[in-house]
Amino acid sequence: MAEVFIIFFRRMRAPLLVLIGAYSIAIVGLVMIPGVDEQGNPWRFDFFHAFYFVSFMASTIGFGEIPHDFSALQRMWTVVAIYLAVISWLYAIGTILSLIQDPVFRRAVAHRRFIGRVRALGEPFFIVCGCGESGRLLIKELARRNIRSVAMDAHQDALQDLELEDLPFEVPHLLGDASRPELLNTAGLTSPNCRGVLALTSDDHLNLKIAITTKLSNRHLMAVSTARTADTMANLASFNTDHIINPFYLFADHLARALHAPKSHLIYRWLVQSAGKPLREVKTPPRGTWILCGYGRFGKAVARYLNYEGIATVVIERDPEASGAPEGAVRGRGTEAVTLREAKIHQAAGIVAGTDDDANNLSILMTARDLKPDLYFVARENRLENNPLFHAAGVDFIMQSSRIVVGHIVSMIITPLMDRFLRQARHRDEEWAGRLLEQIRQVGEGFTPETWSVTIDDEESPAVLGSLAKGLDVTVDSLQRDPTERRRLLPTVALMLVRDDEEDLLPEGHTTLRPGDQLLFCGASGQQGRMQWAQNNEHVLHYLVTGTERAESAIWRHWLADRRRRRETGNPAEAD
């Protein structure tokens, strides 16, 4: 607040002095000059009436000659006073207007407003540093899950793009270098509600500084950072950054997994992708020689992982010496047929268009398709807005850095159970994955499912706790039954049960629940809400477990018990 006031008054000093000067000259003049009233008696302004007259005269409201008609001398003085006062007002107003438009002043105001908004958040939030494609996508994904965030970026354009996003609530954002500790503090680093700092800028060094600042100011705060070089990754790991994300490694890992375990890879795709998208099968990448266009950080990561899988690669690189390409690399961009032929495209099984330029990547794909239409096409998509083009080009496997980063972060920090499940699922074989895929296909009805977790505790499932305490045998599948008809199961899959820190993948339906259990489910959209009936309402749960309605009041209970007794004694006619 102080800065805004100080800047305002410093700038307003001269106009205010001019105004006071003009007013006092006008007032003193009026008080001095004698006048004559209607009866011919001499009179003079007193200070109060002079101030009154000058106030409405200077603001050009002009009520007239009050309290008596003026003499000629008074009118002359009024003319002088009008010009003095009106010009001073114009000067003052002009200064205020230019001050409001002044970038320094606006920044001070924006800063002030930002601090107020962060303070007013009042619920857990994450600080997202870097509002590029990944940052915006992450904020959107967090908002979809009702999690607040605070954004920082050094570029006004990025913040403006954020403002244009359709978000359910306002995201406070600040223009500035996020690695400056005092700016991170104003963004709420020291706030008890801050859950963590996510460094997603495109500059590795900046991310490093942000992570260090976070860890130094509060060791227990979660620090997540993207890194694009091995050097930075090691550096980040050295001071316990909680999660280090290298989009290139992640993608190369996915590609490699799609090669050797296509079904397991598909599980990842379907579960991590945002819910409600049409289920798409992914063509399994073929074995054989692959052509790699571009041997930068991305190309190197892909080459490394492909070589792990025992797949030979031919590198096409514009500058093989500088990028340290392996021997036998073809010089060129890969956009021309000549270079592709030189890389023996006719013997290749797949091609990776991995340069950092989308136009070039598309051009590589088009050229390669002309030469050999049945290749497996992998493309790096640098900007999300080009997505329709890549789809039109018929790419089999698209690498979108921002989606990979955001999907990873969301599964790690928002649904930690999901991350755990995926880790465990990696160790299962393809047959297991195939069965799970079939189940997901059935519940999702052709769309990717939603995933959610349920904890057996007082907050999330009081009814389960209550029924367990009464000795009822609440099983996993009793939660999954349809509250309106217990013989029908809701289209959901119980993916994992965590008990005593041990994961049980795809738990059996008849497993009895225990307090403290954590469950991970997936299912068609809306099923989470239907399952909550059983979690929250003991009567519903009683029906689902036992198949009998429980009477809710004493009279009903008595009547139902009576009925049951009669039915059991074998007198159906009377019972009806």
Partner: protein, 127 residues
Amino acid sequence: MNLEKILFGFFILLALTLNFGFFIGDIDNPDHHDELELFAAIVVSLVATILKFGDRTHIGAVLLSTSLVADLHLIAAAVVWGLAANVGEDGVTSAAMASVVSLSGGALLANIASVVLLVIETVNIRR
């Protein structure tokens, strides 16, 4: 020598002297207290306040607050006088005059504090 410093000191001192000039005399005798002098004291006090705007030092902040106190007293005195002269039925009575002058006395104290602070600051710089 610096014109800004001269103006600054000039207005602060002038605010004090005008204030004192108005204050001196019998407390309830309107003849001893001039309207014009009170007006001048108000204007000069306002100017002194504005000159102090935007100074971020600690002494600058204290100077600004003493000035604001003086403004408040003087404007209150003027309002009391205006009410007595224009609204009250008895005109400017000696009781009304006494309250006007005692209000300006409060402003005088604030102005003295201002000048003392200014002197301290000057001494510190000249050492």
